[in-house]
């Protein structure tokens, strides 16, 4: 059953249909939120708020865009709000030990260099301006096209390209410096 059909059923009170939509997008949205916010608990809060708002606002979703894009737009707004709140209490950087607490088997399936890269990426990402981090994650993390990102966050494609370029310019030396420490 496709997203449109699931949304229609969820609007009519079928909670299992909405749960199927959550199943489909929870991990993908969680990955973006965690990388954007740099903190697992904040990412979990962002997802909780995103899906609750989406459920309450199902009547406001129109099929002109993909349900996934609609969810992403809500999530980005939630992440921006949480980042502003977090900014007032100081930044927190995620480390993989925190992730491994809930996923102890993961280290057996990933090389040490993967974890080093992830740690370095975590630190470097949190040092980027939020709008640069957001553009970089959507472009080179999620692999979205500039047109789609533009419609998601309401910024022109040329401005987005500049943000991604600036993010790359800032990220690359930081990552390389960390890898040589």
């Amino acid at each position: 059953m496709n997203d449109i059909a699931l949304v229609a059923r969820a609007r009519n009170g079928d909670r299992d249909a909405f749960r199927a939509l959550v199943d489909a997008y929870y991990d993908e949205l969680g990955r973006f939120a965690w990388r954007y916010l740099g903190h697992r608990e904040d990412a979990e809060d962002a997802l909780q708020e995103t899906f609750l708002r989406a459920y309450r606002g199902l009547g406001r979703y129109v099929e002109r865009e993909a349900f996934r894009s609609w969810l992403f737009r809500i999530l980005i707004n939630r992440c921006r709000s949480l980042a502003r709140r977090r900014g007032r209490r100081g930044g927190i950087v995620v480390h993989n030990e925190e992730a491994l607490r809930d996923h102890p088997d993961e280290r057996t399936s990933a090389s040490t260099s993967d974890f080093e890269l992830r740690d370095a990426l975590d630190v470097a990402l949190q040092e980027l301006e939020p709008k640069l981090r957001e553009a970089l994650l959507l472009k080179h993390g999620e692999g979205l096209g500039y047109a789609e990102i533009s419609s998601l966050i309401g910024v022109s494609e040329s401005a987005l390209k500049m943000r991604v370029k600036r993010a790359c310019e800032q990220l690359r030396p930081r990552l390389e410096a960390m890898r040589h420490e």
Binding site: E44, L47, Y61, I74, L100, D114, S151
Partner: protein, 198 residues
């Protein structure tokens, strides 16, 4: 591809790999979400609507953009108020615009929508007044490339858009846009029933 470009692509690929290897969020969080969703009233129910209205929300905007939006909304209000005391104007055939015509009831005003779209096979008006139903309010071509429709609207603020060829949604280039509220792309705004005589 040259070597520097290859190196750059390899570097971005590593970024992508790092991103994609992000572990999933904890199962406890997913359980909390399921519990919260189970406690939610059914979408569209009175309880759900009340919750939506009571939910705190905010948006970030540049001060100059807010000021421009206020001026634009006031301008549309004045325009609607002035035109509503006159006969509906003829299409100018250049830009889209929502205009109010004669009042059909105390709380309703006929609003005339036009869109210049040469080459379009069909255009429909969608908005909060017809549940965004693209089949509810088809527009008809009244002059070469000019599509229009008149509908009675209740007084107040309405958001709307046009659907071109049953597929492409476009905003009204002659109207201000509603601020983004976290749910979708901004739509056009018309304010009906602004005090007359302004």
């Amino acid at each position: 591809m040259s070597d520097p470009e290859n190196k750059r692509e390899a570097w971005l690929e590593r970024i992508r790999e790092g991103y994609r290897s992000t572990p999933p969020l904890g199962p406890d969080a997913r359980r909390r979400l399921d519990d919260a969703l189970a406690a939610e009233p059914r979408p569209g129910s009175l309880g759900s609507i009340v919750r939506w209205w009571l939910e705190p929300r905010g948006f970030a905007a540049r001060p100059w953009a807010v000021a421009a939006a206020i001026v634009a909304l006031l301008g549309v209000g004045v325009l609607v108020g002035r035109i509503s005391s006159q006969h509906p104007a003829a299409d100018d055939g250049r830009a889209a615009m929502a205009r109010s015509g004669s009042a059909s009831a105390d709380s309703m005003t006929v609003v005339h929508f036009t869109l210049s779209a040469p080459g379009a096979a069909s255009i429909a008006l969608v908005g909060d007044f017809n549940d965004w139903d693209a089949s509810a309010t088809p527009m008809r071509q009244t002059a070469a490339g000019v599509w229009s429709v008149s509908i009675p609207l209740s007084h107040g603020r309405h958001v709307y858009a046009f659907v071109v060829n049953s597929a492409r949604w476009v905003n009204d280039p002659g109207a201000p846009l509603a601020p983004e509220d976290g749910f979708g792309v901004p739509n056009s705004v018309v304010v009906v029933g602004w005090p007359r005589g302004t």
